[in-house]
């Protein structure tokens, strides 16, 4: 258990800068999710904390101690990989015990700690099996178990759920969160799935092209995105963007409104043509097209009447729900 500090951490591969300086102070026991599209540098950032990539500039501290030059094994971290990275020739027990054996922990203690982790993760019946004899979810758990038994200061997760099916993903994300709370370990979790970020994070870092666009609590980030990118990336369906010209304002600005904040009404700010309706049961997504060809999605309660496809309707929203961005994508 420890704090984790990133101080203007940068990474370049040759002349290409992939991370342009990320800073964050992670509290002891906090669950931080790094979220962003592929290629935004989120995995690289995690691997720099792990010690698998060198740090070009800046500083990483774990428990107040600078670890830039330290080998991965000296950093007191554990990592769960996207493909689990289990040792294929070892049993589940040996997979979990590997790190402890190397650390020369006494045999009786190894058995005790592995048994504990196995119980926690419901892996007890599988301890003598090889990884190839396990299902995806079970392998995922073994990878977790391998991280837990070492009692590290920081957990690192590199897209651990992306190889699981949708249903299992929802279940595992609750389990990981519950486990992390129970153990009270600081965690850094990388994902490209904004739902995982929203549901799991104490705070999240939204990465875009090697820059941390915004760091904050999920609901704060959702309600108050700092950039056009964050507004578009967090939330599903994504925020609707309209040009200033469309609404008769400065052409420099862009106006974003979330789908649930727009209502279809006669007191209209904007005319739009209904192209398609998706009734999801509890809610309906109405897809529309406005005069300049850009698309708008409206999320409305299923109890509201469905607009007919092809008809023109009026759209309206409250001023407070508008988010204005300048030409560079920054929030005004």
């Amino acid at each position: 258990m420890a704090t984790l500090t990133l101080n203007n951490v940068k990474k370049s591969f040759g002349k290409t800068d992939v991370i342009h300086g990320v800073s964050i102070d992670v509290q002891d026991g906090e669950f931080i999710v790094i979220v962003g599209p592929s290629g935004c540098g989120k995995s690289t950032l995690l691997r720099m904390v792990a010690g698998l990539e060198t740090i070009t500039d800046g500083e990483v501290q774990i428990g107040g101690r600078r670890v830039n030059e330290e080998e991965p094994m000296a950093r007191d971290i554990a990592m769960v990989f996207q493909n689990y990275a289990l040792y294929p020739h070892m049993s589940v027990f040996d997979n979990m015990a590997y790190g402890l054996k190397i650390a020369k922990v006494p045999r009786s203690e190894i058995e005790e700690r592995v048994a504990q982790a196995a119980k926690l993760l419901q892996l007890e019946p599988y301890l003598q099996r090889k990884p190839r004899e396990l299902s995806g979810g079970q392998r995922q758990r073994v990878a977790m178990g391998r991280a837990i038994v070492r009692k590290p200061a920081v957990f690192l997760f590199d897209e651990p759920l992306s190889n699981l099916d949708a249903k299992l993903r929802v279940q595992m994300r609750l389990e990981i969160r519950a486990l992390q709370r129970e153990l009270g370990v600081t965690a850094l979790y990388v994902t490209h799935d904004q739902v995982e970020a929203m549901t799991m994070a104490d705070r999240m870092i939204v990465m875009n092209g090697g820059i941390a666009d915004q760091i904050g609590k999920p609901l704060e980030v959702y309600a108050n995105p700092a950039t056009e990118f964050v507004a578009g990336f967090i939330g599903s369906p994504p925020t609707n963007f309209m040009t200033g010209a469309l609404l008769g304002r400065s052409a420099e600005t862009k106006i974003g409104v979330r789908p649930e904040h727009i209502t279809i009404s006669d007191a209209d700010r904007l005319k739009a043509r209904v192209t398609y309706c998706e009734a999801l049961g509890a809610e309906t997504l109405v897809h529309l097209m406005v005069a300049d060809g850009s698309k708008i999605t409206v999320r409305q309660d299923a109890s509201l009447p469905l607009p007919e496809e092809g008809t023109e309707v009026g759209l309206t929203w409250a001023d407070a729900d508008e988010m204005n961005f300048d030409a560079t994508g920054k929030r005004i």
Binding site: L52, A85, I102
Partner: protein, 293 residues
Amino acid sequence: MEKRVTFKGIWLPLLLVLPQILITAIFFFYPAGQAIWQSLFIPDPFGLSMQWVGLGNFEYLLSDRYYRASFVTTAVFSILVTVVSMGVALYLAILADRLIKGSGTYRTLLIWPYAVAPAVAGVLWLFMFNTRVGVVTWYLGLLGYDWNHVLNEGEAMGLVVVASAWGRISYNFLFFLAGLQAIPKSVIEAAAIDGAHFWTRFRTIVWPLLSPTTFFLLVVNIIYAFFETFGVIHTITSGGPQQATTILVYKVYSDGFVGQDLGSSAAQSVILLFIVSILTVVQFKFIERRVHY
């Protein structure tokens, strides 16, 4: 499932496999049969008549101390060639695997020796170590070491081992490199995070995961050392000095074609045939099983 083409009737499929069967029959079954047949006779010096001796040739061979010595020589030679060529290849493969820049060039250069025929490789090494004009011999002389593989049995063995292993390193290197690159990088990284340093990682993760490759190469290299090193030995030492480098295959040649003892030579071929069958069975069993760790 693999799609199989089924032929109606027997004549077309037979026709299609006929070339292969003909080649195998003429160049393998016929001479092999001849060898087995000849091994039961002793021909007279002019080759005009043959005398039936049953298993006499074999009895004589197995009680012949030179033949038994040749077994030991072959074992020593094969083990040394296999260990040297695989050891060096593995070392180079590990280095190449860690390389990011220029690994292509490195790989290409390392593969070249494979294109050199064994006899040519033998002559190459012979020139370097020639007792009178060899470059290496000359430098060794400067250092005060008198290299003479024509007289010294150990040096002769060393030289044929190095010359045989050299050409084989490329082949082994390719397989080891492919084997290393097939190990997921994240598994190695996980081990590093688990606290394993390079050597521990190699011992506990890389080596076990590489074992299918290693086993395959072991069999292939032993077969190579047994049967394909004739050219090297013939050009460098001709089996000498004092039969110190006469491996079984070379003895078949020297007893049969130099010593004109065709009956014994044929019997030796049969024994070799037996050994190679065992090795082939081992190899096929292994390949069929496709070892999973």
